[in-house]
């Protein structure tokens, strides 16, 4: 028993130290952002600022279109997530409920799109957007990524667990195609839809590479691209740069804290089953 408790302590010690190490980049960012301009690198115990100031935050909000970037991010991530969920539900329903000619190769294709990282077609896709005249527009950022292999895959996994009897009962009651989708599948898949929605929302919010390539005007940028541009504009002034980074991360952290169980749950459903 004693030995058991001892190993328990060791495990907690290791996990605690690692947890702190994991959090350091984040704590460092917040700590620098709250520092006084003159005394950024006079620190207490290496990490804490010796004098606290909100000057960095003031400078971000006054000298950059930060709020504009925030609303751009809300708009882009919102549209993408709504679209990915809608198309994902439709496609997942088709794959889960029907066996049709070509269903297997098409599903295999979706698996491939889920695994091939989008960066692999960065430039080819940009040339298509360019040909459409969509450079520096929001449709250029949004439309190419409205179909999400991940959403289709996870929702299909979830739909497959819904007993077929429910489906057949609904059909006997006179429901057809879309009505079955609504009454049986959508209603019982609400937790899965929330999970996928939150995970996609965070991913879309954080997207960097594609937005960087498509959007050119400072006024149109989303937060991740905006804060890096802001660093370069201030000629790397660390206090306001870290203030911008901290502010850009907050909405995601709030979503993560509130929806914590959905984030973990969804990964139990994805891939492994």
């Amino acid at each position: 028993m004693n030995q058991h408790r001892l190993t328990g302590w060791w495990i907690h010690a290791i996990l605690m130290i690692t947890a702190i190490l994991i959090l350091i980049p984040f704590l460092w960012m917040v700590s620098i952002s709250l520092s006084d301009y003159g005394a950024v690198f006079q620190r207490f115990l290496l990490i804490f600022p010796t004098s606290v100031s909100l000057e960095g935050y003031r400078q971000v909000l006054e000298n950059s279109p930060f709020m504009r970037w925030f609303f751009n991010s809300v708009f882009v991530a919102g549209c993408l997530t709504a679209g990915q969920l809608t198309l994902g539900v439709l496609a997942a329903y088709a794959f889960a409920r029907y066996r049709f000619k070509g269903s297997e190769p098409l599903f295999f294709f979706v698996l491939c799109t889920m695994m091939i990282p989008p960066q692999a077609i960065l430039f080819p896709l940009f040339m298509v957007i360019n040909a459409f005249g969509w450079v520096n527009t929001y449709q250029g950022v949004i439309v190419p990524h409205l179909a999400s292999g991940y959403a289709i895959f996870v929702l299909r996994q979830f739909f497959l667990q819904i007993p077929r009897e429910l489906d057949e009962a609904a059909r006997i009651d006179g429901c057809h195609g879309f009505q079955v989708l609504y009454h049986v599948y959508l209603r019982s898949a609400v937790p899965a839809i929330i999970s996928v929605g939150l995970i996609q929302l965070v991913r879309n919010w954080n997207d960097y590479y594609w937005t960087l390539v498509v959007l050119r005007d400072s006024q149109k940028m989303t937060l991740p691209v905006g804060i890096v541009a802001f660093r370069d504009e201030t000629l790397v002034q660390w206090v306001p740069t870290m203030a911008a980074a901290t502010l850009s991360v907050l909405p995601v952290l709030v979503i993560y804290v509130l929806g914590q169980r959905y984030f973990v749950q969804s990964h139990v459903h994805s891939g492994i089953k």
Binding site: P25, W28, Y93, I116, A147, N206, Y209, V225, Q260, I272
Partner: protein, 289 residues
């Protein structure tokens, strides 16, 4: 039973149209352009055969890029998987604090790579960075992380591991929780030591999860871009120039369309082959549905 209904095709139509226009077509389009020369001023295109590919093959920077990418993947991926498995096993040993640890370990995954990269760029600062200050406490003179060829790639690898291993922890925990408890009860009755249980039971039973994690980590680290672009711009002296960044730089910094499309095609085909191989094996090993 194969349905005759047209409904599934209707349901898949929007998704497949988007994939067609924004996934399959771009690849074919850029394949076509990679065999021609594009005159930006006149808009003319002339067929030049494999000239772009020949130029790419002769490029020392591109060769260096491939080497750097392989180096990055071969260090980030195994460490991220081993740490993921190790911490998943440790976290599963705890009781009340389990949710808290899971929460903290997953934080790097939800923080944007842009914000994280900004924080790391100061952590790596030669004079004021936290890392070198801690090192100097124990009397070690830390390197100028991002400005020395030897340490710059390592700096990106550390950031890559920090970003990715928490995701693997969650995947492994999910896998461990699905293991059959009865096998462990039987093993306990048979008096197997914890170490034997780990090597003879847990690790083999987790192999499908491990394989899935291996596939996802390999593919995602292969495509490293944002950290390179924000922290090092491929430097110093191309020491951290990697494949996706090379394509981006040729296309958007040097406006070298021919070379960029040729490199993009090589990158896409390599990723595609890697993915197809892995998906095939995953399909055989991991039983979907």
């Amino acid at each position: 039973m194969v349905t005759r209904s047209k409904l599934p095709y209707l349901l898949l139509f929007p998704t497949m149209t988007l994939y067609g226009v924004f996934f399959v077509f771009p690849f074919l389009y850029s394949l076509f352009i990679s065999f021609s020369e594009w005159h930006l001023l006149t808009g003319d295109m002339t067929f030049v055969g494999i000239q772009n590919y020949r130029q790419l093959a002769g490029s020392h920077i591109f060769k260096k890029t491939i080497g750097n990418t392989l180096m990055y993947v071969m260090t980030t991926m195994p460490v991220s998987i081993v740490l993921g498995l190790m911490y998943a096993l440790l976290i599963e040993q705890t009781k009340k604090a389990k949710a808290l640890y899971r929460f903290v370990f997953f934080i790097p995954v939800v923080i944007s790579v842009a914000a994280a990269s900004l924080s790391f760029s100061l952590l790596y600062n030669a004079r004021h960075g936290l890392i070198n200050q801690v090192m100097s406490l124990v009397g070690i003179q830390g390197p100028n992380w991002l400005n020395e060829s030897k340490s710059a790639l390592l700096a990106l690898v550390i950031l890559g591991i920090w970003q990715s291993f928490g995701y693997n922890v969650i995947l492994f925990i999910a896998g461990i929780q699905q293991l059959d408890k009865e096998i462990y009860e039987a093993a306990a009755i048979d008096g197997l030591s914890p170490f034997t249980r780990l090597t003879r039971l847990t690790l083999p039973l987790l192999s499908p999860v491990t394989f899935f994690v291996f596939v996802m980590t390999t593919l995602s680290s292969f495509q490293v871009f944002a950290t390179v672009q924000i922290l090092t711009m491929g430097g110093p002296n191309n020491a951290t120039n990697m494949m996706v960044f090379f394509v981006w730089q040729e296309a958007f910094k040097f406006f070298n369309t021919g070379l960029a499309t040729a490199a993009a095609t090589v990158l896409f085909v390599a990723t595609m082959i890697l993915t197809l191989l892995m998906v095939r094996i995953v399909q055989r090993k991991v039983h979907y549905q």
